[in-house]
């Protein structure tokens, strides 16, 4: 009669390599048919179940408990097998390296005073506290652990942005700093392209392809999957962009993310737009404003992002004529005659101006609550049914636009009026003649900028050149496409944010020192394989022989916390 016997050791943490060794030693014992040695995570319990090793006792185990199970030919053999566990564990420990393994981060830092990074991959329950200690010790943090609470992430990142340190993660799988890979990283040559990305595999895909295309990576900075959540506010991504903007070895930047929250994307893109380097943006599930906006190129896939970055670095392509203008602030009033042009303007500007209101039905814009109640930035399609009741289409009749221009020019925070003028047969015979005086007057009284997209040809009856000249005389900037307008408007109106520490509630941000991007010296807490990788890359590193504090006893931990405060 076979017997499954389970032993649970509460609050015992051991490296998986040790567990595997123990498991194979148990399985080799006479009379033992199978053995399982795992930490009691849900995934591991499933694993035991699938091997028919899951007993009732094992089901009660927590994630910090070590579960040891043997399936033996008899109860006696099972008990006997389990009695060997301690001696196997001791033997495993004796074969470990001879160098002292510190038990605490504090001691590790004393042993390696020049260390500037902590790699943390302990169970998430403990990782936040360890990261906090690492920040206290002046270290930047690569936080591989998952299951760190959002509250913890916000508090860690609030702290690190104010002190000028980096917290990459939680759940950050990959990073390349100073040519050294943290976590799961591909071996790529160094080069002119810097990467900021939320996802580990995203970084791996981009950096590998850049390498394959013959170029290389200056830095690849992982931010963790939740960095672009509204509450986190892309704190790490913005720090990383700021660093890469200043890094003399980075010529081109790739900014990639899982679907960002629109408000956060707007903040991030507004910041990116003001950096003096070409930036390839790849946000999954995100509707790009155009393929190019000033220094920003929008890629639809990770591979395309890599391709674009390499082309930019090689000078095979360049960003378009730089239409950026200094920030002036104020609100946008888009007054469009053409519905499709208006929609394109919504699509182009929504990523920068958040929130953007429109009467057009679009996922990107907030609906207007009333026809004329203009809240925030807005783009109106004046050809919409609600505007054309009892009135000619604005292609032919400028009256409504003139009224709205006059009305807008009375608003105190008007920044830019963006409009279209569409020429051609059937349109108003001379729209510039009607609009130019109104523009001139409104411009003088309000100080706002007027951008006019003129659509037409030199053979149109209204005359393209004459129309443009007339509008320019009135002080308007004449453009030939919505895309051009997007760059101009975004640079003038989107909120220019410091890339560091500007979230509500943040204290003044402190920029991260460029020396952070040098060859790292690291302390590893958790997965031993990360330490081995560092050593293989000839990085000075110390492995912390970490165990849950006070054996994981919550009551004692809380007493200890109070005794230290």
């Amino acid at each position: 009669m076979t017997e499954v016997r389970t032993e649970i050791r509460q609050g015992t943490y051991a490296d998986s390599v040790v567990l595997m060794q123990l498991q194979s030693e148990l399985a080799r014992l006479e009379g033992v048919l199978d053995a399982g040695v795992v930490m009691g995570t849900p995934a591991n319990l499933e694993l035991l179940k699938s091997s028919d090793l899951l007993s009732e006792a094992a089901e009660t185990a927590g994630t910090d408990d070590l579960i040891i199970v043997v399936l033996a030919e008899s109860e006696d053999l099972a008990i006997q097998a389990l009695s060997n566990v301690d001696s196997f564990l001791v033997r495993g420990a004796a074969t470990q390296t001879d160098d002292y393994r510190p038990k605490s981060l504090r001691t590790a830092k004393e042993m390696l005073p020049e260390s500037n990074w902590a790699l943390i991959s302990t169970p998430g329950k403990w990782a936040g506290e360890i990261a906090r200690e690492a920040l206290d010790l002046g270290l930047n943090v690569f936080l591989y652990s998952d299951n760190v609470s959002l509250d913890d992430e916000v508090s860690l990142k609030t702290r690190s942005t104010s002190s000028g340190q980096l917290v990459l993660g939680p759940d950050c799988g990959t990073t390349l700093i100073g040519g050294v890979g943290f976590g799961f990283a591909n071996r790529v040559r160094r080069g002119p392209i810097g990467v900021v990305a939320a996802s580990g595999t995203g970084i791996q895909a981009i950096t590998s392809r850049i390498h394959q295309l013959g170029s290389g990576i200056s830095q690849a900075i992982g931010t963790g999957g939740r960095d672009l959540y509204a509450r986190v506010g892309a704190r790490t991504a913005r720090q990383a962009l700021d660093l890469l903007a200043r890094d003399p070895h980075t010529e081109v930047v790739v900014l990639a993310s899982k679907p960002p929250e629109p408000a956060v994307a707007a903040r991030l893109l507004s910041s990116a737009l003001r950096i003096d380097k070409s930036i390839v943006v790849q946000f999954s599930g995100f509707s790009p404003p155009a393929s190019r906006v000033c220094n920003l190129l929008f890629a639809r896939s990770l591979s395309e992002a890599a391709d674009l970055a390499v082309d930019l670095a090689d000078g095979q392509t360049s960003t378009t004529e730089d239409l950026r203008r200094p920030y002036r602030g104020g609100l946008l009033r888009g007054l469009f005659a053409g519905g499709t042009l208006a929609l394109e303007a919504v699509q182009g500007l929504a990523p920068f101006l958040y929130p953007l209101f429109s009467n057009l039905a679009s996922d990107l814009a907030e609906p207007l609550t009333g026809q004329t109640a203009l809240e925030g930035h807005s783009i109106l399609d004046l050809g919409g049914d609600e505007y054309t009741v009892g009135r000619l289409h604005p292609m032919m009749d400028q009256q409504l636009r003139i009224q709205l221009i006059e009305k807008a020019s009375l608003e105190t925070d008007l920044g830019v009026i963006l409009m279209d003028v569409v020429l051609g047969s059937g349109s108003h015979p001379d729209p510039a003649a009607e609009l130019a005086p109104v523009i001139g007057k409104a411009r003088n009284s309000s100080g706002a900028e007027f951008l006019v997209i003129v659509i037409g040809t030199d053979e149109d009856p209204q005359g393209l050149a004459a129309t443009c000249a007339r509008l320019e005389e009135a002080g308007a900037t004449v453009l030939s496409s919505v895309t051009d307008a997007v760059g101009l408007v975004a640079s003038m109106l989107s909120t220019p944010e410091e890339l560091t520490g500007d979230m509500p509630g943040d204290s003044e941000g402190h920029p991260v020192g460029l020396d952070t991007l040098g060859t790292p010296t690291a302390i590893n807490v958790g997965l031993e394989s990360f330490y081995d990788e560092l050593v293989e890359q000839e990085v000075s590193a110390v492995q912390v022989d970490w165990r849950p504090p006070a054996g994981g006893d919550e009551q004692i931990i809380s007493v200890l916390k109070r005794m230290r405060s």
Partner: protein, 413 residues
């Protein structure tokens, strides 16, 4: 109350202690509270019925030595019946290795800490083999004790007086540079003591034969200096004791049944748990099955930052603690994780003359799950057989956890 500050004060006092061996005196005449018909013993308080073989044997031997009892049977009856009282050495400014039994007429070393005007005591080491501290009390043992008590004690006292005392802190600092760690290895320190006192011994001994015998006895016993060292460490630990709000360990001691500790900030309170059996190497013919649970006050050395804490200074004895010289370094490095200071006086050449890890903070012990290392001799579980090996032992974590929770309660944390 600020624990960090309190600990700094406590460990500062520990290191400021300046223990000097000034003489030898009758225990009953100098040890505070040592009454007639009272014996002192190692470790935390214990009742007769819970005592291990070596401790019972030593108490019986001392009762016979004092002439209170004539036989094992009568001594046992008196001890079990309360006619002869017994009390921990530690509660009388005293420490003793192994059973640590001291009776009123025994000679004891007098160690004076002139910086804190505090005096501590320890008995005279009897050497190896069948000795009282392992529970032996045959006539051979008692005869040696009498010689120690008379000729050795008076010669040493006169020699110490003539040489104006011996600075134990300075001696230890030097011995640590000569391969001692001050607990299991005292070869260098014992020779230093012999060297320091030999001229005076030659001068003060009542005759040539006595001088010869005293010098021979001290030179043959590599543990000669252990007892004054322990008294010196007791002085350091006592200096650190009683600091309001301090989480520093001010005492660690074992009675062969229980392992006990005290905290500076919770003066006079013992926290105990069953003493573990040391893990070590055995002399041939003995095994772990013969071993008594850990016993003796000699853990006062680790309490004061030497012994296993200074293991890196004593590569010669790494075989006792499982291996290579690197293991010895690692043993000391580990202890830095649970201590708050590095000794100003005791340094370790192999660690770049880093001060030894000093002042055990129970918060670190409990948080990191690292209990203090202790180098120790291993006693046979039967009285009178003696030392059967040496090795490493760690106090049970429970005593530290219990002390931590009691501290939190006491200070309303």
């Amino acid at each position: 109350m600020n624990i960090e500050q309190a600990n700094e004060i406590a460990v500062g006092r520990m290191m400021a202690a300046h223990p000097v061996l000034t003489g030898v005196a009758r225990a009953g005449a100098v040890i505070p509270g040592l009454e007639q018909r009272m014996l002192l013993h190692a470790g935390p308080p214990i009742t007769w019925d819970r005592m291990s073989g070596p401790l019972q044997g030593a108490l019986i031997g001392a009762s016979i030595f004092e002439g209170w009892a004539e036989s094992e049977a009568s001594a046992t009856e008196m001890l079990a019946g309360g006619e002869i009282a017994f009390d921990p050495c530690h509660e009388h400014q005293t420490v003793g290795p192994m059973a640590g039994v001291i009776s009123p007429s025994m000679a004891v070393y007098v160690v004076e800490d002139d910086n804190h005007s505090h005096t501590t005591f320890s008995n005279l080491n009897e050497g190896y083999g069948k000795v009282l501290r392992y529970g032996a009390y045959s006539s051979e043992v008692l005869d040696r004790l009498r010689w120690i008590n008379d000729d050795l004690a008076s010669t040493l006292h006169d020699a110490l007086t003539a040489s104006e005392g011996m600075d134990i802190r300075a001696l230890l600092a030097e011995a640590l540079h000569m391969g001692d760690e001050g607990h299991n290895r005292n070869k260098a320190g014992s020779l230093l003591m012999l060297k320091a006192l030999a001229p005076s011994i030659a001068e003060v001994a009542k005759d040539k034969g006595t001088a010869q015998k005293v010098l021979q006895f001290m030179g043959d016993n590599a543990l000669t200096v252990l007892n004054p060292v322990m008294a010196a460490c007791k002085a350091m630990a006592d200096a650190a004791d009683g600091v309001e709000g301090s989480t520093i360990v001010s005492c660690m001691a074992r009675n062969g049944t229980d392992f006990g500790i005290k905290l500076s900030g919770l003066q006079d309170r013992w926290f105990t748990a069953p003493a573990p059996t040391p893990d070590g190497l055995y002399f041939s013919g003995f095994s772990a099955d013969d071993a008594n649970p850990d016993i003796g006050d000699s853990t006062i050395t680790e309490t004061a930052g030497i012994g296993a804490f200074a293991m890196a200074a004593a590569p010669a004895i790494v075989a006792f603690v499982s291996g290579t010289p690197k293991d010895a370094l690692n043993a000391s490095l580990e202890m830095y994780e649970i201590t708050v200071a590095e000794s100003d006086y005791f340094t370790i050449p192999a660690l770049g003359f880093r001060g030894t890890p000093t002042g055990i903070d129970i918060r670190e012990v409990v948080e990191l799950g690292i209990t203090p290392r202790v180098n120790t001799g291993i006693a046979h579980r039967k009285a009178g057989i003696g030392q059967i090996g040496a090795g490493l032992v760690r106090p049970p974590i429970e005593v530290f956890t219990e002390a931590l929770m009691a501290f939190a309660q006491q200070y309303d944390i």
